[in-house]
Structure formats: structure tokens, C-alpha cells
Symmetry: C2
Subunit: 218 residues, 2 copies
Amino acid sequence: MAATATLLGLEKKSLREQALAALRTAITSGALEPGRHLVETELSEMLQISRGTLREALRQLEQEGLVSAGARGRLSVRHLDAKEIRDIYSVRAALESLAARTLCELPDRQHVIGSLRAAIQAMEAATHGTLEERVESDLEFHRTMCRLTGNETLLHSWESLEGSIRMSIMFAGLEKGVRNMSVDRHNDIVAAIETGDATLARNTIREHMDSAAAVLVA
Amino acid sequence: MAATATLLGLEKKSLREQALAALRTAITSGALEPGRHLVETELSEMLQISRGTLREALRQLEQEGLVSAGARGRLSVRHLDAKEIRDIYSVRAALESLAARTLCELPDRQHVIGSLRAAIQAMEAATHGTLEERVESDLEFHRTMCRLTGNETLLHSWESLEGSIRMSIMFAGLEKGVRNMSVDRHNDIVAAIETGDATLARNTIREHMDSAAAVLVA
DNA sequence: AACACGGCGACTGTAAACAGTCGACCCCTG
DNA sequence: CAGGGGTCGACTGTTTACAGTCGCCGTGTT
């Protein structure tokens, strides 16, 4: 039963994880605006947790690049300019290109294709949902792609970047983000993977990323 | 003066940073062998720091992939098998390919070439040093390459992977690691960047990574 | 002998207290 | 009025103490 609960993601989350999630949401939603100075006592009071627990969460956030350290350990919400967004998307493109290429090289891609198609359906289902839901389903597709490679390191690296990606979308303005989630584009990616042509898949990903980044910094 | 001290890296390191460095060294040197269960009270006593401070360091280590979490927050030193090493090197190759490609696209690469050549000279100087020094100078070359792109996100991602890379080298056995640092290979990389041919540079990096990974898992 | 149960020890999760440091502001002085 | 010095307040760095939980082991029962 315990195992089932774990598999279903129902296990009690530690306060640290809750705090981490809450802070991520607060930052990517803009509740904590870029450049905002983060005061530990303030946050611990807001989240109703102790500073020690909070600090652990902040370390992870720091590692994810959502908060940056200033003088004497002062933390503030990271501020992204256009160049940084392009840089983030360059790295994202590199990682997802690897993912696509890896998937192309799998002998049996049926299961992969199926999972990706399911993720796209989830995106379609969210088409008329809130913006947050649409972004979420979009990221879920890409995360799934990385996960399906079976390369844990790749998945881990992508997830470390995920916060920055979310922030890019947030920072570039919410309306702009909408165009970033066309279902067609994602179908192209799946189709490319289905053919098994690694070069094609890589180029499709790269174009997808380039256009997404272009929209965000336009 | 304070700025100078900072630039020279002379600023007082916090206990957390010292602990982090110590733990990284302990793990990559094998003092804490893979699979080893990490007990907080044990480590805090060894390092002469409090558990709270230690836990912050452990969070970072976890994010870097050097330690993995088991049931109920139990941490242990990550165990790498051959597949994982290949996976790590796949991601490394993707990141460094991006770095090389980015450098190729710079209009003025003279400064870059100079810095890389200097890094190679440092490697040559370390040829007859200890194994640790050779590995260090090797990694320094690649880190420099990432840094010179000016893409902070890329550098950050690479540094997040650095611990895993070190662990790969350690895990695969120390003797094998030696061949991993041929100066010639690195000269090839610099030469490729100098030509400005992004495809050539990318392929050179990829070959370098492939052969390195092949040696490690042989 | 097998099994259920209860106490115990080992660890992690969390909180609260203590210490040190830097900057701002005010007062005092020339 | 300008400058020096000192006090105060706001934070972060670090430690110590407390609570909860799980597994182990011995014990008693059948």
C-alpha cells in the first residue's frame, strides 16, 4: 500500500518540498517579481515554516537558477533579460535535441510514440483551459520526451532547467506565451521521431525552440 | 579591495561551502564509496558542523546528482553503472557541443583561442603531476570552454554535471582515466573552433566525448 | 518453534535560539 | 555645515534542542 501511495504520488510531502513548490509557483506566477529581495524571516513566516527548512528549499531554488545570491548571501528573484532567455532556450534545445535523437535510435518506438501522442492529447484537452494549464501540459510533453529516453541524467538536467523555462515564459509576458503551444508543432516532433531520422528530429526540435525563443524575446 | 579579494577567490567561505567542497571531494575520491549510506549526525560530526548546515550542503549535492535519496529521506552516495556513465557523457557531449558551436559563431575568436590554448598549456604543465591534478586541468579546459560562451545557463548546467563527470572518472577506475586527457585531442577542439566550422567543432567534441566514455566503460 | 507485540535505539523532520556582520541613522564635534 | 564615530536595527550564518517514525530485537505466548 505504501508503495502504491508512492507510485500515485500520494505520499506525505515534507514541508521542504511543499515550500519548494510554493516558492516556485510564487516566482513563476510573478507573485514574487524579478529582482525582489528575499528575506528569510519574511518567507518563513509567510509559508509558516522554520527558517532552517526554508533555507534548504532556497538552496534548491538557487541551484535551479530561480533565485540568485548577492552580497553576503542575500537572495533575490532572478531577473531575466532577452539574452538570458535566448541562452536558456539554447541549452534547452541542446538537451531536447539529444532527447529526440536518442528516441530516434530506439529499436521499438511504438510505446514512445503512444506516450507522446497521449501528451499531445492532454495539450489539446487543455486548449481552452487556463494559461497555466496550457503551459503545464506543454512542459509535460517535453518532460515526457526526456523521460522516455531512459536517460536519468538528461531528465535531471532538463528538470533543473524547467524553472528557468517557466520563468522565461512568465517574464516574456503571458499573452506571448500562448502561441508557444501550438499542437501542430508538437505533432511534427512526434512525426519526426516516428520516422527515426535523428537529423530531422533534431532540426524539428531546434526550429521549435528557435521560434519559441523568438516569440518570447520579440 | 574587497572586490579584489572576491575576484581572487579569497573571500571567507561559509561552512556550508566548505562542507560542500569536502563532501564532493570525499565522494569523488572514493573516501565515501558508492552506495554508502549517509547519516547526517555522522557527517556533521566528521565535518565538525551542525546538522542544519550540513543538510543545506546535502541538498546541493542531491541536486548535483552525487547523492540520491532513498526511503524517508535516507541519502546515499550515488552508484553509477556503465549505462549511467554513458548517459552522463551523452548529456555532457550535448552541452559541450553547444559550447563549441557557440564559440564558432563568435565574430572575434582570438581571445577565446588564447584562453583555450592557455588552458591546454596548464594541462601540459600538469602532465607529470598527480592524477588529480591532471583531471582537474582537463575539467578546467572544458569548463573554460563553457564559460567563454558567455552563456551563464550553459555554464551552470555544465557545472551541475561536473560532479557526475568526476564520479564517472573515479568510478571507472583511476588508471583508465589517464588516457582521457590527451593534449592532442584538446588541440583538435581548439583548432576546430578556430576554423569557425560549427559542424566540425561539434563532431570533434562528440568524438572526444564518445572515446572518453568508451574508455570509461570499457 | 513460530509469531505477535512492545520497548528501544537510530535517524530524519522541524523549530527555536544564539552569534556575527553590515548598513543606516543620529548625535556630537570641529 | 561637514565629518567622524557610535548605537541600533535588520539579516544571514550556525547551533542546539525537540518531535515523529521506522526498524530491530528481545520477550512472552501458544
